[in-house]
Homo-oligomer: 194 residues x 4
């Protein structure tokens, strides 16, 4: 058998796709190694365990997304523009790599608790945007996390429906409408919560 080289990169893509398709527990290390074209042993040079492999992939993607959302928020001032930018980013992320997106959706249930307090997550990025809008008087008093749940829920559930074929086509095409719906919903939530 020819000797494989550069296991690390090949493993990541294979692992994310398999995890997304079958869940972390549903994928055997042997499958990942086979899909990546490396030996099982080689995998362990780069990741100390399957659990750690999943965690590394999840936290990297999750925190990177958080940082990207922070960057997008910094480019705009108004709440509507900020939400619009973030929604577009999410949709583009989904369109570009649906497997990664699905992996994050699946993996969060087991791995979110391992995210250390103080890390910049997507939730924090969105919540901070809402909090800023409240401070600026753009919307009424509201718990930023309650509003974040609304924004993320609209986005994530649309992505879930796309995965199951309930909605089709690129999410990017839906981004403007989703952003508008999210912004409106947050304002409505703030009004109704008062």
């Amino acid at each position: 058998m020819p000797r494989a080289v550069g296991a690390r990169g090949k493993v990541e893509q294979a692992a994310i796709e398999l995890f997304a398709a079958k869940g972390i527990d549903g994928v055997a290390i042997a499958e990942i190694a086979a899909a990546a074209g490396v030996s099982q042993g080689a995998l362990y040079r780069h990741y100390p365990s399957k659990e750690e492999l999943a965690w590394t992939l999840f936290s990297a993607a999750y925190l990177r997304t958080g940082a990207e959302l922070d960057g997008i928020a910094a480019e705009h001032v108004a709440l509507g523009a900020r939400i619009d930018g973030m929604v577009r980013h999410f949709c583009a992320l989904y369109d570009r790599d649906p497997a990664l997106f699905r992996f994050m959706l699946l993996a969060q249930h087991g791995l979110l608790p391992r995210i250390a307090a103080g890390q910049r997550t997507p939730v924090d990025a969105i919540a901070d945007v809402v909090a800023a809008a409240v401070r600026q008087g753009e919307i009424g008093q509201i718990d930023p996390f309650a509003a974040t749940a609304v924004i993320m829920g609209i986005l994530l559930q649309t992505a879930v429906f796309h995965i199951y074929g309930r909605v089709t086509g690129s999410l990017a095409a839906r981004a403007p409408a989703l952003a508008h719906a999210a912004t409106t919903a947050v304002a409505a939530l703030a009004a109704a919560s008062a």
Copy 2:
């Protein structure tokens, strides 16, 4: 309906709680049997396999919820009232049995594909309510599933945030505001999608 009496009931409750806490793959049959106070062998008298146990619990809860939402829709006429009723029902469901709710959230990723086409799911109940509203001219033309994603996303992500402690208190208290946000968001989505 939930007859929490006898071996079968004890197994169901134990299984749902363990599945919700650790995922289906993360729970051993031995654990369920021990938690339910029955032998492993006895478990197989009622369910032919672990997969089938999980499937039975999931589909029963999922389809029952669909039927309940259908019933709520039938009690109201206006879109706003129907959404309000359904949101209240969801919130009450979560407050009453968070483990069951979390189990459904977790299990859907693996089990939703097994739901036969034509079954009345929560998704269908909500989508039909939206479709009726479109037919009645209450809101503009819109893909009912896209709207359903918005409604369910707002609800489910709020529940997820409650699970992780990002929002606290009973969801029932938040139901009116969530219903208002969902109704508004659907209208906004319809307007923006036109």
Copy 3:
């Protein structure tokens, strides 16, 4: 394959013989299971791990031997008689079950540190006999453990030589001479240590 019954007993003898022949690390669980005629899985119903299996077997044999030596010491009064009884017991033990003896010799290096302080080991039984003799004035002042090393060394090394074929025949036949040598050596050590 016919279903095996009563794994526990069959496993013990097989494990001790294999451990004695190849060392604990040198024996695979599969070998033990095969030699015992049970499945690998059955083994784990009785012992939580290979390490624990070895430990259970070792500590049981080691502590039982300690108790037996205590019993023998109680049957005699004079140091010579006590040493004679204990040496005979050791030799009979070796003759009856050389594999168990060899297992104890091998396993002590890794497992002795796990013996909790305060347990009655063979070392303690012998050391107490020496200490009593010192108190009675039968021999001169001496560190009981230093004397115990002499007694045990004479015995154990003879057993080792028997294992390697350097000495042959039953050890029981050598017991009186070994006991005499041990008693004399202890007295000499006490005299020389003064």
Copy 4:
């Protein structure tokens, strides 16, 4: 990467210490390489396998000890003097390098059978001294190996007790008493075996 120099010596010391602490099977080649500051690959330039490394270290130390004991025996004539010299040598060896001593104690169980017949081992050196004494009429007729077991047992078990902390201080300080005990024990064994 810094290129390792004098690899061989560093590997030997590291290997002996690790083997002594954890047993041959309990030490990974990677550990030895790391402790010695060389690469795993470099290790295989000097030793064809881990087994061979352990064997080389054991046989070298074991046969060297045999030769040293032969030399000591040649310096003396009387049995007592010879035993005294050999015991002192053993004790000094232990005091100087307890890890090497412990390694030999551990490794003998697996490696002694590989020592070719006719090699001069410590056992042979001592047995020859006893045989000469018998020939000279210094002690009664006795199997030289039985006597060697007594001498070595007294020594080795004392060393084992030192390893486990049952006896403390330098063994050299105990050498005269141990030599006296060993000489006396051999004479007693010869008398009792007659």
